[in-house]
Symmetry: C2
Subunit: 230 residues, 2 copies
């Protein structure tokens, strides 16, 4: 597995500054790349919806579907931006990465579930508006077909959430980069007191700043499963 | 905290039969009781929907909302029955309880999320059908009001899922009943080789049957967070 090493500054209190190598794995890049593609597709589809509404003189943003859908897209873009800033760029300190990881995972799963709910509401709207003769309420074949599509979307969502929430289906520890302690060594581009650590393993590696309170907090973060599913 | 002790039979292989005391806490009874009340309310509301449809000659079970809603209610009743049979009644063996707990937790959260999605679809349907003059698409005050209700339901769901998925918000270990090892003791109503164990802590207590494979599996069950949120 290709590992890209990035240098991150870690500031504790007002005095101590440690430079930390953060290993970013191929999986993380694939995760970020796929989500960027999904974001682009979401923007294209949003433009299509607004242009379709404008062309047919249908008001924009009146339905609950549109409110929840737009909210999900806004939170998704925030999630993407925050993910880039904190987990891909080399500026965020390791404790910040560790603290934000459980929120990042929860937000990702919540946005995914909200998008599925929004899709189901959109399907409901479309069936009511489009099936007029025969009406949706008479259960024509189109209605049955699209209802089945809706059920399949629910099953898809359930499977993804099951996979994403199984801790033993996460990337196993042996695939994670090894974390050798170094004291005083100066490997490529780092200064004294540097230590290599995978950001997702931040709580397990002693990076020289852990008070008892911080240790407990880190243990809690560990319990909270801050290691990404990717 | 009041603890009700129940005797459970544990069968390993074909020969060994161990009787195990399973501690069922007040929290578990409250959890079961509240869900039973919710199930009764769900059945009452289902009957109301069908009677309303029949009285107004509206076809039943044609919409995606009804399909997903009924599926959720069916799975909810199965979840409740299975919960009673496995976690409340004293017949299920401890390994079975431990194996089913992560599935029980996942199903509970999934059914909860599905019910929220179903409610949002129901709200969408109702707004389209009921708001005619002025129409839903002209955003009358009722539309804004009910859209806000929908958003509040999403926020409610997000908060509940956040609370339920935080491991450190689970019942802390010190509130769990203590698990003293006993070998050969015969406390109230149990036979030789009995051991007291909380079903939710099954993986942590050695109940005298753990091979290396079982130990590893139990560790995995522990990782999977099989301890109930209640």
């Amino acid at each position: 597995m290709v590992i890209v090493q990035m240098i991150s500054k870690l500031k504790v209190g007002k005095i101590q500054v440690i430079k930390v190598l953060v290993n970013i794995s191929t999986a993380t890049f694939i995760h970020a790349g796929l989500n960027t593609i999904a974001m682009i597709l979401a923007i294209v589809s949003m433009v299509a919806v607004f242009e379709y509404h404008n062309a047919r003189n249908i008001p924009n943003m009146y339905s609950l579907h549109s409110w929840i859908g737009l909210t999900a897209v806004i939170f998704y873009s925030l999630q993407l931006l925050l993910g880039f800033a904190v987990f891909l760029l080399p500026f965020a300190a390791v404790p910040l990465r560790a603290a934000l990881m459980p929120i990042h995972i929860y937000s990702g799963l919540l946005i995914f579930a909200t998008v599925i709910a929004s899709a189901l509401m959109g399907i409901t709207e479309k069936l009511i508006f489009s099936l007029k003769n025969p009406a949706y309420s008479t259960s024509p074949p189109e209605a049955i077909f699209v209802n089945c599509l809706g059920l399949l979307i629910v099953i898809f969502g359930a499977l993804v959430l099951w996979m994403a929430s199984r801790p033993h289906w996460k990337r196993p520890p042996e695939e994670l980069p090894k974390v050798p302690r170094r004291s005083g060594g100066t490997p490529e581009g780092t200064e004294a007191e540097s230590t290599m650590t995978d950001c997702s393993n931040a709580d397990k590696s002693d990076v020289g700043f852990s008070s008892e309170a911080a240790r407990k907090r880190n243990l809690k973060l560990d319990e909270a499963g801050q290691r990404s599913t990717m």
